[in-house]
Symmetry: C2
Subunit: 267 residues, 2 copies
Protein backbone atom coordinates (compact mmCIF):
# COMPACT_ATOMS: atom_id res chain seq x y z
CA UNK A 1 0.00 0.00 0.00
CA UNK A 2 2.89 2.34 -0.61
CA UNK A 3 2.38 3.17 -4.29
CA UNK A 4 -0.62 5.42 -3.86
CA UNK A 5 -0.37 8.86 -5.35
CA UNK A 6 -0.21 11.82 -3.04
CA UNK A 7 -3.43 13.74 -2.72
CA UNK A 8 -2.65 17.25 -1.61
CA UNK A 9 -5.36 18.43 0.70
CA UNK A 10 -6.70 21.86 1.44
CA UNK A 11 -6.23 20.81 5.05
CA UNK A 12 -2.50 20.14 5.01
CA UNK A 13 -1.62 17.03 6.95
CA UNK A 14 -0.05 17.83 10.30
CA UNK A 15 3.74 17.76 10.06
CA UNK A 16 5.45 14.88 11.79
CA UNK A 17 8.29 15.83 14.03
CA UNK A 18 9.32 16.29 17.59
CA UNK A 19 5.75 16.86 18.74
CA UNK A 20 3.21 14.25 17.84
CA UNK A 21 -0.33 14.81 16.80
CA UNK A 22 -3.67 13.08 16.88
CA UNK A 23 -6.00 12.45 13.94
CA UNK A 24 -9.55 11.35 14.75
CA UNK A 25 -10.24 9.41 11.59
CA UNK A 26 -13.58 8.18 10.31
CA UNK A 27 -13.20 4.65 9.01
CA UNK A 28 -16.56 4.78 7.27
CA UNK A 29 -19.39 2.29 7.60
CA UNK A 30 -17.52 -0.97 7.05
CA UNK A 31 -16.37 -1.73 3.51
CA UNK A 32 -12.76 -0.79 3.13
CA UNK A 33 -13.32 1.00 -0.18
CA UNK A 34 -15.68 3.39 1.57
CA UNK A 35 -12.66 4.82 3.35
CA UNK A 36 -11.72 8.28 2.13
CA UNK A 37 -8.41 9.03 0.45
CA UNK A 38 -7.49 11.28 3.38
CA UNK A 39 -8.21 8.54 5.92
CA UNK A 40 -6.05 6.16 3.90
CA UNK A 41 -3.22 8.71 3.85
CA UNK A 42 -3.38 9.04 7.64
CA UNK A 43 -3.27 5.26 8.07
CA UNK A 44 -0.27 5.06 5.78
CA UNK A 45 1.74 7.51 7.86
CA UNK A 46 0.58 6.48 11.33
CA UNK A 47 2.94 5.40 14.07
CA UNK A 48 0.14 4.00 16.21
CA UNK A 49 -3.54 3.32 15.59
CA UNK A 50 -6.11 3.06 18.36
CA UNK A 51 -9.15 1.38 16.89
CA UNK A 52 -12.72 0.56 17.84
CA UNK A 53 -14.59 -2.71 17.93
CA UNK A 54 -16.50 -1.92 14.74
CA UNK A 55 -13.52 -1.20 12.53
CA UNK A 56 -13.03 -3.95 9.95
CA UNK A 57 -9.67 -5.79 9.97
CA UNK A 58 -9.47 -5.14 6.22
CA UNK A 59 -9.21 -1.43 6.96
CA UNK A 60 -6.49 -1.94 9.55
CA UNK A 61 -4.57 -3.88 6.93
CA UNK A 62 -4.30 -0.69 4.88
CA UNK A 63 -2.16 0.93 7.55
CA UNK A 64 1.59 1.31 7.45
CA UNK A 65 3.21 -2.06 8.11
CA UNK A 66 5.25 -0.79 11.02
CA UNK A 67 2.36 0.94 12.74
CA UNK A 68 1.39 -0.30 16.17
CA UNK A 69 -2.26 -1.35 16.43
CA UNK A 70 -4.10 -1.03 19.74
CA UNK A 71 -7.63 -2.26 20.28
CA UNK A 72 -9.63 0.05 22.53
CA UNK A 73 -13.07 -1.28 21.68
CA UNK A 74 -16.05 -0.93 23.88
CA UNK A 75 -18.94 -3.34 23.58
CA UNK A 76 -22.32 -1.63 23.92
CA UNK A 77 -23.16 -1.51 27.60
CA UNK A 78 -19.73 -2.76 28.60
CA UNK A 79 -16.71 -0.63 29.31
CA UNK A 80 -13.53 -2.60 28.91
CA UNK A 81 -11.75 0.62 28.01
CA UNK A 82 -13.25 3.60 29.84
CA UNK A 83 -13.28 6.76 27.73
CA UNK A 84 -10.89 8.47 30.15
CA UNK A 85 -8.34 5.74 29.59
CA UNK A 86 -8.59 6.13 25.81
CA UNK A 87 -8.15 9.87 26.19
CA UNK A 88 -5.05 9.28 28.30
CA UNK A 89 -3.34 6.78 26.01
CA UNK A 90 -3.80 8.77 22.81
CA UNK A 91 -2.42 11.89 24.48
CA UNK A 92 0.49 9.96 25.98
CA UNK A 93 1.40 8.52 22.58
CA UNK A 94 1.29 11.93 20.90
CA UNK A 95 3.44 13.37 23.69
CA UNK A 96 6.08 10.83 22.78
CA UNK A 97 6.15 12.42 19.33
CA UNK A 98 4.11 9.76 17.58
CA UNK A 99 1.62 10.26 14.78
CA UNK A 100 -1.54 8.91 16.39
CA UNK A 101 -4.59 7.77 14.46
CA UNK A 102 -7.73 7.30 16.51
CA UNK A 103 -9.78 5.21 14.10
CA UNK A 104 -13.53 5.28 14.63
CA UNK A 105 -16.22 3.55 12.64
CA UNK A 106 -18.39 5.84 10.53
CA UNK A 107 -17.92 9.57 11.00
CA UNK A 108 -16.15 10.82 14.15
CA UNK A 109 -18.66 13.68 14.53
CA UNK A 110 -21.69 11.38 14.73
CA UNK A 111 -21.96 9.50 18.03
CA UNK A 112 -18.20 9.02 18.03
CA UNK A 113 -17.27 10.37 21.49
CA UNK A 114 -14.96 12.79 19.71
CA UNK A 115 -15.64 15.59 22.19
CA UNK A 116 -13.76 13.95 25.04
CA UNK A 117 -10.73 13.11 22.90
CA UNK A 118 -10.58 16.57 21.33
CA UNK A 119 -10.72 18.16 24.78
CA UNK A 120 -8.01 15.90 26.15
CA UNK A 121 -5.71 16.65 23.22
CA UNK A 122 -6.24 20.39 23.46
CA UNK A 123 -5.77 20.42 27.22
CA UNK A 124 -2.40 18.76 26.61
CA UNK A 125 -1.46 21.18 23.86
CA UNK A 126 -1.45 18.42 21.23
CA UNK A 127 -2.37 19.19 17.63
CA UNK A 128 -5.59 17.39 16.76
CA UNK A 129 -7.76 17.12 13.66
CA UNK A 130 -10.92 15.34 12.55
CA UNK A 131 -10.99 13.41 9.27
CA UNK A 132 -14.68 13.03 8.39
CA UNK A 133 -16.08 9.74 7.17
CA UNK A 134 -19.15 8.18 5.60
CA UNK A 135 -21.69 7.61 8.34
CA UNK A 136 -23.52 4.29 8.63
CA UNK A 137 -26.93 5.75 7.75
CA UNK A 138 -25.63 6.86 4.35
CA UNK A 139 -24.41 3.33 3.69
CA UNK A 140 -27.77 1.97 4.85
CA UNK A 141 -29.58 4.16 2.32
CA UNK A 142 -27.18 3.06 -0.39
CA UNK A 143 -27.67 -0.61 0.50
CA UNK A 144 -31.44 -0.24 0.30
CA UNK A 145 -31.12 1.67 -2.98
CA UNK A 146 -33.12 4.55 -1.54
CA UNK A 147 -32.47 8.11 -0.56
CA UNK A 148 -32.89 9.11 3.08
CA UNK A 149 -34.74 12.22 1.92
CA UNK A 150 -37.42 12.36 -0.78
CA UNK A 151 -38.39 15.74 -2.10
CA UNK A 152 -41.88 16.68 -1.04
CA UNK A 153 -42.30 13.58 1.15
CA UNK A 154 -39.43 13.42 3.64
CA UNK A 155 -37.30 16.53 3.60
CA UNK A 156 -35.37 15.99 6.80
CA UNK A 157 -33.49 13.19 8.53
CA UNK A 158 -33.05 12.77 12.27
CA UNK A 159 -30.00 10.83 13.40
CA UNK A 160 -30.47 9.57 16.93
CA UNK A 161 -29.28 6.81 19.19
CA UNK A 162 -31.05 3.83 20.61
CA UNK A 163 -28.71 3.73 23.54
CA UNK A 164 -28.15 6.49 26.04
CA UNK A 165 -25.77 7.32 28.79
CA UNK A 166 -26.40 4.97 31.70
CA UNK A 167 -29.11 6.42 33.90
CA UNK A 168 -30.51 8.78 31.26
CA UNK A 169 -34.12 8.22 30.22
CA UNK A 170 -34.70 6.82 26.74
CA UNK A 171 -34.97 9.50 24.07
CA UNK A 172 -38.47 10.45 22.95
CA UNK A 173 -38.07 9.10 19.44
CA UNK A 174 -41.72 9.75 18.58
CA UNK A 175 -41.37 13.48 19.16
CA UNK A 176 -38.61 13.53 16.55
CA UNK A 177 -40.56 11.67 13.91
CA UNK A 178 -42.84 14.44 12.72
CA UNK A 179 -44.51 14.09 9.32
CA UNK A 180 -41.94 14.72 6.61
CA UNK A 181 -39.14 12.98 8.50
CA UNK A 182 -36.94 9.95 8.16
CA UNK A 183 -35.62 8.72 11.49
CA UNK A 184 -32.27 6.92 11.45
CA UNK A 185 -31.51 5.21 14.73
CA UNK A 186 -28.00 4.04 15.49
CA UNK A 187 -27.40 1.02 17.72
CA UNK A 188 -31.05 0.65 18.62
CA UNK A 189 -31.66 -3.05 18.08
CA UNK A 190 -31.81 -3.97 21.74
CA UNK A 191 -34.54 -1.37 22.27
CA UNK A 192 -36.59 -2.22 19.20
CA UNK A 193 -39.74 -3.08 21.18
CA UNK A 194 -39.47 0.10 23.23
CA UNK A 195 -38.88 2.19 20.10
CA UNK A 196 -41.90 0.62 18.39
CA UNK A 197 -44.16 1.33 21.38
CA UNK A 198 -42.90 4.89 21.72
CA UNK A 199 -43.47 5.70 18.05
CA UNK A 200 -46.95 4.19 17.98
CA UNK A 201 -47.89 6.10 21.13
CA UNK A 202 -46.66 9.31 19.46
CA UNK A 203 -49.09 8.80 16.61
CA UNK A 204 -46.74 7.45 13.98
CA UNK A 205 -48.98 5.37 11.69
CA UNK A 206 -48.93 1.62 12.24
CA UNK A 207 -48.25 1.24 8.51
CA UNK A 208 -45.11 3.39 8.60
CA UNK A 209 -42.29 1.60 6.87
CA UNK A 210 -39.42 0.30 9.00
CA UNK A 211 -36.15 -0.86 7.52
CA UNK A 212 -33.23 -2.36 9.40
CA UNK A 213 -29.75 -2.55 7.94
CA UNK A 214 -27.22 -4.59 9.89
CA UNK A 215 -23.52 -4.19 9.13
CA UNK A 216 -24.18 -1.75 6.29
CA UNK A 217 -21.68 -2.08 3.44
CA UNK A 218 -19.78 -4.99 4.99
CA UNK A 219 -19.71 -8.65 3.94
CA UNK A 220 -22.13 -9.32 6.82
CA UNK A 221 -24.70 -6.81 5.59
CA UNK A 222 -28.35 -7.84 6.03
CA UNK A 223 -31.49 -5.92 5.11
CA UNK A 224 -35.00 -6.17 6.53
CA UNK A 225 -38.23 -4.31 5.86
CA UNK A 226 -41.59 -4.29 7.61
CA UNK A 227 -44.22 -2.04 9.09
CA UNK A 228 -44.01 -0.26 12.40
CA UNK A 229 -46.91 -2.21 13.87
CA UNK A 230 -45.53 -5.53 12.71
CA UNK A 231 -41.85 -5.13 13.36
CA UNK A 232 -40.35 -7.63 15.75
CA UNK A 233 -36.80 -8.43 16.51
CA UNK A 234 -35.62 -11.43 14.56
CA UNK A 235 -32.74 -13.38 15.98
CA UNK A 236 -30.46 -12.36 13.14
CA UNK A 237 -31.10 -8.65 13.70
CA UNK A 238 -28.11 -7.49 15.67
CA UNK A 239 -26.07 -4.34 16.19
CA UNK A 240 -24.34 -2.61 14.54
CA UNK A 241 -27.53 -1.69 12.77
CA UNK A 242 -29.38 1.31 11.46
CA UNK A 243 -33.13 1.35 12.00
CA UNK A 244 -34.88 3.60 9.47
CA UNK A 245 -38.47 4.74 9.94
CA UNK A 246 -40.11 6.90 7.27
CA UNK A 247 -43.06 9.17 7.97
CA UNK A 248 -43.96 11.13 4.85
CA UNK A 249 -45.85 14.40 4.88
CA UNK A 250 -49.65 14.08 4.85
CA UNK A 251 -50.80 12.99 1.41
CA UNK A 252 -47.25 12.32 0.20
CA UNK A 253 -45.84 8.90 -0.56
CA UNK A 254 -42.27 7.71 -0.48
CA UNK A 255 -40.73 5.69 -3.28
CA UNK A 256 -40.83 1.91 -3.42
CA UNK A 257 -37.75 0.42 -1.85
CA UNK A 258 -35.76 -2.30 -3.51
CA UNK A 259 -36.95 -5.79 -2.71
CA UNK A 260 -33.94 -7.78 -3.85
CA UNK A 261 -31.98 -9.03 -0.86
CA UNK A 262 -34.42 -7.37 1.54
CA UNK A 263 -36.09 -9.83 3.91
CA UNK A 264 -39.47 -9.25 5.48
CA UNK A 265 -39.55 -8.70 9.17
CA UNK A 266 -42.40 -9.00 11.62
CA UNK A 267 -46.04 -9.85 11.32
Amino acid sequence: MTALPIFPSHHPRPAAGASGRISLVGAGPGARDLLTLRALARLEEADVIFYDRLVDPEILNLARKGAERVYVGKAVGASAWPQEQIDAVIVAAARRGRRVVRLKSGDPCMFGRATEELAAARAAGIEVEIVPGVTAASAAGAALGRSLTERGATDRVVFATGTCRAGDPSPDWGAMLMPGTTLALYMGVAKLAEIRANLLAAGVPATAEVEIVCNASSAQEHLWRGTLAGVTRAAQVVNPAIILVRRPKPGAVVSQGLTAQVASIGA
Copy 2:
Protein backbone atom coordinates in the same frame (compact mmCIF):
# COMPACT_ATOMS: atom_id res chain seq x y z
CA MET B 1 -4.44 8.18 -12.12
CA THR B 2 -4.17 4.70 -13.59
CA ALA B 3 -1.71 3.13 -11.15
CA LEU B 4 -4.08 2.84 -8.22
CA PRO B 5 -4.41 -0.56 -6.63
CA ILE B 6 -7.66 -2.43 -7.00
CA PHE B 7 -9.87 -2.37 -3.92
CA PRO B 8 -12.17 -5.34 -4.07
CA SER B 9 -15.52 -4.40 -2.64
CA HIS B 10 -18.18 -6.40 -0.90
CA HIS B 11 -20.50 -4.72 -3.39
CA PRO B 12 -18.95 -5.97 -6.60
CA ARG B 13 -18.77 -3.27 -9.21
CA PRO B 14 -21.37 -3.69 -11.92
CA ALA B 15 -19.92 -5.48 -14.93
CA ALA B 16 -19.40 -3.40 -18.04
CA GLY B 17 -20.72 -4.89 -21.19
CA ALA B 18 -23.51 -4.73 -23.67
CA SER B 19 -25.87 -3.13 -21.17
CA GLY B 20 -24.69 -0.02 -19.43
CA ARG B 21 -25.28 0.91 -15.84
CA ILE B 22 -25.63 3.97 -13.67
CA SER B 23 -23.72 4.75 -10.49
CA LEU B 24 -25.03 7.59 -8.33
CA VAL B 25 -21.75 8.59 -6.75
CA GLY B 26 -21.22 10.84 -3.75
CA ALA B 27 -18.34 13.22 -4.44
CA GLY B 28 -18.09 14.19 -0.80
CA PRO B 29 -18.13 17.71 0.63
CA GLY B 30 -15.50 19.35 -1.56
CA ALA B 31 -11.87 18.40 -0.94
CA ARG B 32 -10.82 15.79 -3.41
CA ASP B 33 -9.16 13.62 -0.79
CA LEU B 34 -12.52 13.27 0.96
CA LEU B 35 -13.65 11.16 -1.96
CA THR B 36 -13.99 7.47 -1.11
CA LEU B 37 -11.88 4.81 -2.74
CA ARG B 38 -15.03 3.35 -4.31
CA ALA B 39 -16.04 6.69 -5.80
CA LEU B 40 -12.55 7.05 -7.24
CA ALA B 41 -12.78 3.58 -8.78
CA ARG B 42 -16.08 4.48 -10.44
CA LEU B 43 -14.61 7.69 -11.86
CA GLU B 44 -11.65 5.77 -13.22
CA GLU B 45 -13.83 3.38 -15.18
CA ALA B 46 -16.56 5.78 -16.29
CA ASP B 47 -17.51 6.36 -19.89
CA VAL B 48 -19.51 9.47 -19.10
CA ILE B 49 -19.90 11.62 -15.99
CA PHE B 50 -22.88 13.87 -15.37
CA TYR B 51 -21.89 16.29 -12.63
CA ASP B 52 -23.44 18.95 -10.46
CA ARG B 53 -22.58 22.57 -9.93
CA LEU B 54 -20.98 21.91 -6.54
CA VAL B 55 -18.54 19.24 -7.66
CA ASP B 56 -14.98 20.54 -7.55
CA PRO B 57 -13.01 20.47 -10.84
CA GLU B 58 -10.18 18.73 -8.93
CA ILE B 59 -12.46 15.76 -8.42
CA LEU B 60 -13.45 15.63 -12.07
CA ASN B 61 -9.75 15.56 -12.90
CA LEU B 62 -9.51 12.19 -11.16
CA ALA B 63 -11.77 10.60 -13.77
CA ARG B 64 -10.62 8.47 -16.67
CA LYS B 65 -9.04 10.68 -19.31
CA GLY B 66 -11.32 9.49 -22.07
CA ALA B 67 -14.50 9.95 -20.05
CA GLU B 68 -17.03 12.44 -21.36
CA ARG B 69 -17.93 15.12 -18.82
CA VAL B 70 -21.39 16.70 -18.90
CA TYR B 71 -22.40 19.56 -16.64
CA VAL B 72 -26.00 19.26 -15.49
CA GLY B 73 -25.82 21.77 -12.67
CA LYS B 74 -28.76 23.53 -11.22
CA ALA B 75 -28.36 26.82 -9.43
CA VAL B 76 -30.56 27.10 -6.33
CA GLY B 77 -33.88 28.44 -7.45
CA ALA B 78 -32.99 28.18 -11.12
CA SER B 79 -33.58 25.19 -13.31
CA ALA B 80 -31.25 25.17 -16.28
CA TRP B 81 -31.44 21.38 -16.31
CA PRO B 82 -34.84 20.16 -15.14
CA GLN B 83 -34.64 16.95 -13.14
CA GLU B 84 -36.63 15.09 -15.81
CA GLN B 85 -34.03 15.98 -18.39
CA ILE B 86 -31.22 14.67 -16.19
CA ASP B 87 -33.18 11.46 -15.64
CA ALA B 88 -33.58 11.09 -19.39
CA VAL B 89 -29.96 11.68 -20.37
CA ILE B 90 -28.46 9.32 -17.80
CA VAL B 91 -30.85 6.56 -18.85
CA ALA B 92 -30.19 7.20 -22.53
CA ALA B 93 -26.42 6.98 -22.00
CA ALA B 94 -26.72 3.72 -20.08
CA ARG B 95 -28.98 2.30 -22.80
CA ARG B 96 -26.15 2.87 -25.24
CA GLY B 97 -24.08 0.51 -23.08
CA ARG B 98 -22.07 3.18 -21.32
CA ARG B 99 -20.83 3.16 -17.75
CA VAL B 100 -22.55 6.25 -16.38
CA VAL B 101 -21.45 8.10 -13.27
CA ARG B 102 -23.93 10.59 -11.87
CA LEU B 103 -21.64 12.60 -9.62
CA LYS B 104 -23.34 14.48 -6.78
CA SER B 105 -21.78 16.62 -4.12
CA GLY B 106 -21.87 15.14 -0.62
CA ASP B 107 -23.87 11.96 -0.16
CA PRO B 108 -26.45 10.99 -2.81
CA CYS B 109 -28.96 9.92 -0.12
CA MET B 110 -29.02 13.34 1.55
CA PHE B 111 -30.90 16.01 -0.40
CA GLY B 112 -29.44 14.61 -3.62
CA ARG B 113 -32.58 14.04 -5.70
CA ALA B 114 -31.52 10.42 -5.98
CA THR B 115 -35.09 9.14 -5.86
CA GLU B 116 -36.02 10.44 -9.31
CA GLU B 117 -32.89 9.06 -10.93
CA LEU B 118 -33.21 5.67 -9.26
CA ALA B 119 -36.81 5.42 -10.41
CA ALA B 120 -35.95 6.41 -13.97
CA ALA B 121 -33.17 3.82 -14.15
CA ARG B 122 -35.32 1.04 -12.74
CA ALA B 123 -38.25 1.89 -15.00
CA ALA B 124 -35.86 1.48 -17.93
CA GLY B 125 -34.46 -1.78 -16.60
CA ILE B 126 -31.00 -0.28 -16.10
CA GLU B 127 -28.74 -1.53 -13.33
CA VAL B 128 -28.23 1.26 -10.79
CA GLU B 129 -26.28 1.62 -7.54
CA ILE B 130 -25.58 4.29 -4.94
CA VAL B 131 -22.02 4.97 -3.78
CA PRO B 132 -22.34 6.79 -0.46
CA GLY B 133 -20.22 9.83 0.31
CA VAL B 134 -19.21 12.13 3.16
CA THR B 135 -22.00 14.61 3.68
CA ALA B 136 -21.27 18.32 4.09
CA ALA B 137 -22.40 18.47 7.72
CA SER B 138 -19.73 15.94 8.69
CA ALA B 139 -17.11 18.09 7.00
CA ALA B 140 -18.51 21.16 8.76
CA GLY B 141 -18.09 19.49 12.13
CA ALA B 142 -14.55 18.45 11.21
CA ALA B 143 -13.71 21.99 10.10
CA LEU B 144 -14.95 23.42 13.37
CA GLY B 145 -13.09 20.73 15.32
CA ARG B 146 -16.31 19.71 17.07
CA SER B 147 -18.58 16.74 17.09
CA LEU B 148 -22.17 17.17 15.90
CA THR B 149 -23.30 15.15 18.91
CA GLU B 150 -22.06 15.53 22.47
CA ARG B 151 -22.91 12.79 24.92
CA GLY B 152 -25.39 13.98 27.51
CA ALA B 153 -25.83 17.40 25.85
CA THR B 154 -26.83 16.88 22.21
CA ASP B 155 -27.56 13.27 21.42
CA ARG B 156 -29.29 13.72 18.09
CA VAL B 157 -28.73 15.65 14.88
CA VAL B 158 -31.39 16.85 12.48
CA PHE B 159 -30.35 17.36 8.86
CA ALA B 160 -32.82 19.65 7.13
CA THR B 161 -32.98 22.03 4.22
CA GLY B 162 -33.29 25.76 4.10
CA THR B 163 -34.89 25.59 0.69
CA CYS B 164 -38.05 23.77 -0.23
CA ARG B 165 -39.89 22.74 -3.32
CA ALA B 166 -41.35 25.84 -4.95
CA GLY B 167 -44.74 26.57 -3.42
CA ASP B 168 -44.16 24.52 -0.27
CA PRO B 169 -44.25 26.39 3.04
CA SER B 170 -40.93 26.83 4.84
CA PRO B 171 -40.11 23.95 7.18
CA ASP B 172 -40.80 24.51 10.87
CA TRP B 173 -37.17 24.43 11.93
CA GLY B 174 -38.00 25.38 15.50
CA ALA B 175 -40.13 22.28 16.01
CA MET B 176 -37.11 20.16 15.10
CA LEU B 177 -34.72 21.88 17.48
CA MET B 178 -35.83 20.32 20.72
CA PRO B 179 -33.47 20.42 23.69
CA GLY B 180 -30.69 17.89 23.16
CA THR B 181 -30.48 18.53 19.42
CA THR B 182 -28.02 19.90 16.90
CA LEU B 183 -29.72 21.25 13.80
CA ALA B 184 -27.72 21.14 10.56
CA LEU B 185 -29.35 23.15 7.80
CA TYR B 186 -28.24 22.66 4.22
CA MET B 187 -28.42 25.51 1.74
CA GLY B 188 -30.18 27.84 4.16
CA VAL B 189 -28.18 31.03 3.83
CA ALA B 190 -30.77 32.94 1.84
CA LYS B 191 -33.33 32.23 4.56
CA LEU B 192 -31.12 33.01 7.54
CA ALA B 193 -33.36 35.82 8.83
CA GLU B 194 -36.45 33.65 8.52
CA ILE B 195 -34.71 30.72 10.22
CA ARG B 196 -33.57 32.97 13.08
CA ALA B 197 -37.10 34.34 13.62
CA ASN B 198 -38.64 30.87 13.46
CA LEU B 199 -36.21 29.41 16.01
CA LEU B 200 -36.60 32.31 18.44
CA ALA B 201 -40.39 32.08 18.17
CA ALA B 202 -40.16 28.36 18.97
CA GLY B 203 -38.40 29.12 22.23
CA VAL B 204 -34.84 28.34 21.24
CA PRO B 205 -32.70 30.47 23.60
CA ALA B 206 -31.36 33.73 22.16
CA THR B 207 -27.92 32.63 23.37
CA ALA B 208 -27.98 29.37 21.40
CA GLU B 209 -24.77 28.99 19.45
CA VAL B 210 -24.94 29.33 15.67
CA GLU B 211 -22.09 28.30 13.40
CA ILE B 212 -21.95 28.68 9.65
CA VAL B 213 -19.51 26.75 7.50
CA CYS B 214 -19.31 27.82 3.87
CA ASN B 215 -17.66 25.49 1.34
CA ALA B 216 -16.73 22.97 4.02
CA SER B 217 -13.41 21.22 3.31
CA SER B 218 -12.66 23.17 0.13
CA ALA B 219 -10.05 25.85 -0.44
CA GLN B 220 -12.85 28.40 -0.13
CA GLU B 221 -13.91 27.19 3.32
CA HIS B 222 -15.00 29.91 5.77
CA LEU B 223 -16.20 29.56 9.34
CA TRP B 224 -18.38 31.85 11.42
CA ARG B 225 -19.79 31.67 14.94
CA GLY B 226 -22.34 33.76 16.79
CA THR B 227 -25.49 33.59 18.84
CA LEU B 228 -28.95 32.96 17.54
CA ALA B 229 -30.20 36.40 18.57
CA GLY B 230 -27.22 38.17 17.09
CA VAL B 231 -26.72 36.26 13.87
CA THR B 232 -26.99 38.31 10.73
CA ARG B 233 -26.06 37.48 7.21
CA ALA B 234 -22.66 38.86 6.36
CA ALA B 235 -21.94 39.51 2.73
CA GLN B 236 -19.34 36.77 2.61
CA VAL B 237 -21.75 34.15 3.93
CA VAL B 238 -22.94 32.32 0.85
CA ASN B 239 -24.17 28.90 -0.16
CA PRO B 240 -23.07 26.16 -0.24
CA ALA B 241 -23.14 26.39 3.52
CA ILE B 242 -24.12 24.41 6.57
CA ILE B 243 -25.81 26.32 9.37
CA LEU B 244 -25.40 24.56 12.72
CA VAL B 245 -27.51 25.47 15.73
CA ARG B 246 -26.91 23.68 19.04
CA ARG B 247 -29.53 23.41 21.75
CA PRO B 248 -28.21 21.30 24.62
CA LYS B 249 -30.43 19.51 27.11
CA PRO B 250 -31.52 21.58 30.11
CA GLY B 251 -28.58 22.04 32.45
CA ALA B 252 -26.09 20.57 29.99
CA VAL B 253 -23.38 22.47 28.20
CA VAL B 254 -21.69 21.78 24.91
CA SER B 255 -17.95 21.91 24.46
CA GLN B 256 -16.07 25.04 23.53
CA GLY B 257 -15.60 25.27 19.80
CA LEU B 258 -12.30 26.09 18.21
CA THR B 259 -11.68 29.79 17.76
CA ALA B 260 -8.81 29.66 15.27
CA GLN B 261 -10.01 30.64 11.82
CA VAL B 262 -13.56 31.13 13.10
CA ALA B 263 -14.87 34.65 12.53
CA SER B 264 -17.54 36.24 14.68
CA ILE B 265 -20.83 36.91 13.05
CA GLY B 266 -23.63 39.23 14.06
CA ALA B 267 -24.19 41.57 16.95
